[in-house]
């Protein structure tokens, strides 16, 4: 049990440290790198909560796919110029207070409602996550109950492909 707690702290540190550095580094490439660290931390937390499939997807899709895309774009644009610009706006203090307030608010109410999560459990759980193994259970649900969203997600991706092509095409005419 102790190991769980220790692992949680390690991953949480990765998540938060990565997050903070993501939004404070001047250089966009560094930000992206720290974002990857943060995402890996989240992946670790998934694993800790027995979401193996999502752990894999997080690494393959997020770290391997999305972040590479980010880096690619950062390389494409003029980095030097971006780096020279002031990175924070003048009203950062006001914004910081606002954000702290948002965080505090949500945190406060999660803390207050922490007992609330147990109240609303819908009867008996469908099945313990381990009965079938996470990935199998996920597949089972995905291809029955969630068939429609799964199919429709393809439309979403098609839209994204068309959209990206439209935006990236050369001159009109």
């Amino acid at each position: 049990m102790l190991i769980d707690t220790v692992l949680f702290y390690i991953f949480a540190a990765l998540v938060l440290g990565g997050g903070i550095l993501t939004i404070t580094r001047r250089n966009a490439v560094h930000s992206a790198m720290w974002l990857i660290v943060s995402l890996l931390g989240v992946a670790g937390l998934y694993l800790q909560q027995q979401a193996e499939f999502l752990f894999a997807v997080q690494i393959v899709l997020y770290v391997g796919g999305i972040m590479v895309l980010f880096l690619f774009v950062i390389m494409l644009v003029n980095l030097d110029q971006a780096a020279r610009e002031r990175q924070f706006n003048r009203h950062w203090f006001v914004a910081l207070v606002a954000v702290a307030a948002v965080g505090a608010e949500i945190g406060y109410f999660i803390y207050r409602g922490r007992t609330g999560f147990h109240i609303a459990e819908l009867g008996a759980p469908i099945a313990a996550p381990h009965a079938l193994g996470n990935t199998e259970m996920l597949a089972d649900t995905l291809f029955s109950e969630y068939l429609l969203p799964f199919e429709i997600a393809s439309l979403l991706l098609l839209v994204a492909v068309v959209g990206a092509v439209v935006m990236a095409k050369k001159r009109i005419q």
């Binding site: 609330g116 609303a120 819908l122 089972d140 429709i152 068309v162 009109i172």
Partner: protein
Amino acid sequence: MPGNFATASDVIRFLPEIILAVMGTLLMILDPLLHRRSSNAFGHLSILALAGALGGAIYAYLNGGPAFGGMLMVDGFATFFGVLVIVAGILTILPSYRFLARQGAETSEYHALLLFSVAGQCLMVAANDLIMVFIGLEISSISSYILAGYLREDKRANEASLKYFLLGSFATAFFLYGVALIYGSTGTINLAGVNVVLSGPGAPSLVFVGVAAALMFVGLGFKVSAAPFQVWTPDVYQGAPTPISAFLSAGPKAAAFAVFLRIFTTAFAPIGHGWEPLVWASALLSMTIGNFAALQQSNIKRMLAYSSIAHAGYVLVALTARSEVGTAAAMFYLAAYAFMNIGAFAVVSHLSGKGERYQNIEDFSGLAQKQPLAAAMFSIFLLSLIGVPLTGGFFGKFYIFKAALESHLVWLTVLGLLNSAVAAYYYLRILVMMYMREPAEATEAVEPLSPGLRLALIVPAIGTLFLGIFPNWVLDFAGKSSVLLK
């Protein structure tokens, strides 16, 4: 049920989306074959697709019911909004022919994205599960982001697209956080399920679900441009291609309102007293900000954007009523609004000229002399936006305020009426420009009305007047369909 693939009835109830998705894909396939030869063909095909989807939606309604294990609910409500967004799609395409030709833009992707967007909205309005709401919303939004920046050489369109995209994703994150909290506190993301848990014994505390509702309000309020999440609207409407501004103000807005109504009057109905103050405040803020900001606005697209914010406020008044009459009133209003607003934007698009040079209210000077038909139709739309009797806008407002009064929202009603009094001023300014000024540069340069545009003006005008003179039929249907919880 689990393990089974789609049944025949599932497919029938899903017909409009299938038609739209298939036709959209077809457009992309035809692109290399048809390109340059006849760019109008894509427009024709899209209208065909939308007409098919319209038929499909009606056929689906006749065979209505839940589909895909309760993911979708094809009922009167879904059909009403489905038909609405499809018609909005058709009315967007009609003025687009000339518009795209004038700007020298490709037509295939434009129409494909439009079809996809409409498909996403059809999903949204029928969604009975938060995951479908989310995916529908995203399909509709992502296509809209691109469409807003479709003229990618145009700096303004670019900027509109960027702002819409970044702020949209920002708001969506809040929405998702709300969904997560709902899931955490009720253990389900099915709307009916949420309702059951919330109204049953041992429901989670109001604070908890209330915060979730507030966060979801952020995401949906953004899409319908309700204050204080309306900030993007003027910039995006101004920068986007005019037919797309029209579309944004009708299709995605109506669909987002449909989701709004469905979630808040079914899933969150048991905690109505919790979210009512939020909607109340947002309604009042939207009306006031929209109307006052529009007062002195000189850019017509921005002005219509502010007016769109104000109209979102009126619909929120109906939502605040928390009654079936309110829901029906919102439905009717959105239908009327779609007609009058798309019509108004069609006139703006007609006049804007190459590169959308003419966007000022002064540019409408003397339109009545040059093109009496366009001016007369525009007058109908403006009068309807004001809420003059015999137009759809009047009945919409009347019905909304009636619903509000029945729910004892006296102050909101009075403030709403005061607001609509203020609003008349800026709409009439345009009327004055058209009828009481000499033609100026823009009106001198205006091109003759193409057949497509003629339709794009006359159809919404007929719709607006029809809803004002014979509102019965639509009101009946809305009244019947507003019973979302059986």
